[in-house]
């Protein structure tokens, strides 16, 4: 029995060794082939300086691979090693990676908390005097500034406000509402036609996206969250209780689908793609996915109007999904800046925009798809404000704000929810 076991184990071990050897052999063979094929280019690459580019948007990998190839062709003395991390992982680990300067010569930063933390740690290189800063729209730059210096350059521009089905509106003879009363009329008409006005993904991103457009005209002061964190404002004041009351109104009157807090973004997108809902309460970054699900959809933006027409100051919300920056601990800062300069050229930026289906902050970008063309006028012609949520610098305060929305959608009275949230804010800011 023992002998049998030993011989079986030995056999298995030999088999595994054989497999490993074969695998090694194959990979070595492939490597050799690759080396032979690229002997000329590898000689050049040996002399080239390799920079590391880290970011978090997995969906950009293909287009960035192509752009990097073009960059390396134009700059044979520089190669780019790109690493993409899942966004949660990036949010938690990027700072550690940037610390010793060997990773992330060029890196991306979220606006808001992450920008503040990286700034406090001193990992941003000041880009204020770089020529390529002029390639970006002036109006978009502020979010990457601190202490009068341009530390990061917003690249991808998104509109965090509901996307609506234009074709459905035309069929039902609905106009885009410009006041609260018109908005209510529109929602009632949709409901009469058995269509949910807004598909709200309350289980994940619904509250953090929709809070921006819901509050944009309730709290016109763009420093309201800075004041909240410094104790000059409270969530129990009208700007926030009114916003919570609006959420309650939308929920209680069936503007959101039933059980909105249990619906995730995939389910909400499916509702809009199936034309069971007229609007998706997320943002422009979902337009491409919606059109993949239903190519017939013609889309536009329709932020909620929560005030009378004469009180409307802001028409929508914009934000930078990510900002490009150079690691101050890097020893290859010049090469890193060359790469950012390349990304900010209109033809390269246009390629990125069209292949990812996103708007950009770079000047002179030419959008090809109908969806991007139909909505690009929001960049210059509409009065949009920067996403207020990203102006909250304390994660615990942001959680309290979002928690109060979830609380109201769960049935709690807005004032009570605001008080509960304010208590958390005070615990974490005093």
């Amino acid at each position: 029995m023992m002998k049998k076991m030993v011989s079986w184990s030995a056999g298995l071990f030999s088999f595994i060794l054989l497999l490993t050897a074969c695998a090694d052999d194959t990979s070595q063979q492939n490597q050799e082939e690759d080396e032979n094929q690229g002997s000329e280019s590898s000689a050049a690459e040996e002399d080239a300086t390799q920079i590391s580019f880290i970011h978090w948007r997995g969906e950009d990998e293909e287009v960035f691979d192509d752009i990097i190839d073009q960059f390396e062709e134009e700059h044979p003395d520089i190669t780019v090693q790109m690493n993409i991390y899942p966004s949660e992982q990036y949010q938690s680990n990027a700072q550690q990676m940037l610390r010793d300067g060997s990773t992330g010569d060029v890196f991306t930063s979220f606006p808001g908390t992450q920008f503040e933390t990286i700034n406090n740690a001193g990992f941003f290189t000041d880009l204020s005097d770089e020529e390529f800063v002029n390639n970006f729209a002036d109006t978009s730059l502020e979010v990457g500034q601190s202490g009068g210096s341009q530390l990061a350059l917003p690249y991808q521009l998104v509109f965090n406000m509901p996307v609506y089905n234009k074709g459905m509106f035309e069929e039902l003879g609905l106009d885009v509402p410009t006041s609260w009363s018109e908005y209510q009329e529109m929602a009632e008409t949709l409901k009469e036609n058995d269509i949910t006005p807004i598909a709200f993904p309350g289980a994940d991103i619904g509250p953090n996206q929709t809070m921006n457009s819901m509050m944009m005209n309730n709290a016109k002061d763009e420093d309201v969250f800075a004041k909240l964190e410094s104790g000059e404002e409270t969530l129990t004041n009208e700007w926030w209780t009114k916003t919570l009351e609006d959420f309650q109104y939308f929920n209680d009157n069936g503007y959101f689908q039933e059980d909105a807090l249990g619906t995730n973004q995939d389910s909400a997108m499916q509702m809009v793609a199936d034309e069971k809902a007229a609007m998706l309460a997320t943002g422009s970054y979902h337009m491409a996915s919606l059109q993949d699900l239903n190519p017939e959809l013609e889309l536009g933006f329709l932020p909620p109007i929560t005030v009378p027409e004469d009180e409307v100051e802001y028409e929508g919300i914009h934000t930078a999904t990510f900002m490009l920056a150079v690691n101050d601990n890097s020893e290859k800062k010049e090469e890193a800046k060359t790469f950012i300069e390349f990304l900010s050229q209109p033809d390269i930026a246009s390629q990125y925009a069209n292949e990812t289906g996103q708007h950009l902050t770079v000047n002179d970008v030419e959008y090809e798809s109908d969806a991007l063309q139909n909505t690009s006028h929001w960049i210059d012609e509409k009065d949009t404000r920067f996403q207020p949520r990203y102006l909250i610098t304390e994660a615990s305060v942001e959680d309290a704000v979002l928690g109060s929305i979830e609380n109201v959608l769960g049935g709690t009275d807005p004032e009570e929810a605001a008080e509960e949230a304010q208590q958390i804010v005070e615990e974490n800011t005093n």
Partner: protein, 291 residues
């Protein structure tokens, strides 16, 4: 018998690993719990007991997360233990069907927690989810719920998933424990005219105590460590109703960049698990018998 000194060298690899992956992080956490380190900067200040004071007296979300975690743990320990025990008794005989059923019940354990979270998020979806659709189909529409979106029941929905995920593992421990009980004790009980319940109470349960101790202690620790499932399914929401201690520590450390405070909560968390496990061992050990 004289033990050669050489034998002590064999402890070294294990000790190094233990020191590197357990002692060092633990000591570091205790050290940083007295600081305001943000996890990135090289500089930090000592803040004494400030972090502990905040956790105990000035952080309502932490208090809520402890409460949620205890609710989650109690639900999982009670139901997982009972379900695993019942199925172990039903499947204790070594027949081909029982082998197959044990393997089936064990199957969820080998899945990754993120896969389990994905499956159950879909099951619980209020409009597209299979659970509500099934309830409607069999005429129990009044039982349909917003399983993860309703703050009153979301923590129990997560706990149920945890039970589904790990009950099979505990079943195997109980089956092993049942097989270790001498058969002549059951024969003696039968001759004495004991009922099935009396046999269970006087023979099976007392002799299963060592297995039960392992199951309950392990389930408790597992319940406190259910980070991935909770994080992937609800992220602690809605409104912190499913926030448990481990997800809250993650929030503070990696979203709030307050490693000092997160370390203080981790130390309190460690002490809490140690205390609960110690009490369980004491209580269950006192129930042990030998015939």
């Amino acid at each position: 018998m004289r033990i050669s000194k050489t034998i002590y060298f064999f402890f070294i690899p294990g000790l190094i690993l233990y020191a590197l992956f357990f002692l060092y992080p633990t000591i570091s956490a205790i050290f940083y719990s007295f600081t305001n380190w943000d996890g990135i900067s090289e500089n930090f200040n000592f803040v004494g007991l400030e972090n502990y004071e905040k956790a105990v007296t000035g952080d309502s979300v932490f208090v809520k997360s402890v409460g949620n975690n205890l609710e989650f743990m109690l639900f999982v320990v009670i139901f997982q233990t009972i379900i695993a025990l019942i199925f172990a008794i039903l499947l204790v005989k070594n027949t081909k069907v029982n082998y197959l059923l044990r393997a089936l019940f064990f199957f969820p354990t080998i899945l990754s927690s993120v896969s389990v979270a994905f499956i159950w998020t879909f099951v619980y979806d209020p409009s597209l989810g299979i659970l509500n659709q099934l309830l409607s189909l069999i005429g129990l529409e009044f039982l349909t719920q917003n399983w993860l979106g309703n703050g009153n029941i979301a923590i129990y929905s997560l706990a149920f998933t945890q039970v589904w995920f790990h009950a099979g593992q505990m079943l195997i421990i109980f089956v092993a424990g049942l097989h270790a009980i001498p058969f002549d004790l059951y024969e003696a009980a039968k001759i004495e005219g004991a009922t099935k319940w009396q046999t269970f109470k006087k023979v099976t349960w007392p002799l299963l105590a060592p297995s039960a101790t392992i199951v309950i202690a392990y389930t408790t620790i597992q319940s406190f460590q259910a980070f991935d499932l909770v994080f992937a399914m609800t992220g602690g929401g809605p409104n912190n109703t499913t926030e448990i201690i481990s997800t809250y520590i993650y929030e503070i450390a990696f979203r709030g960049y307050d490693f000092g405070y997160a370390s203080a909560i981790s130390v309190l968390f460690m002490a809490m698990i140690a205390l609960i496990t110690f009490i369980q061992f004491k209580v269950l050990r006192s129930n042990r018998v030998s015939y």
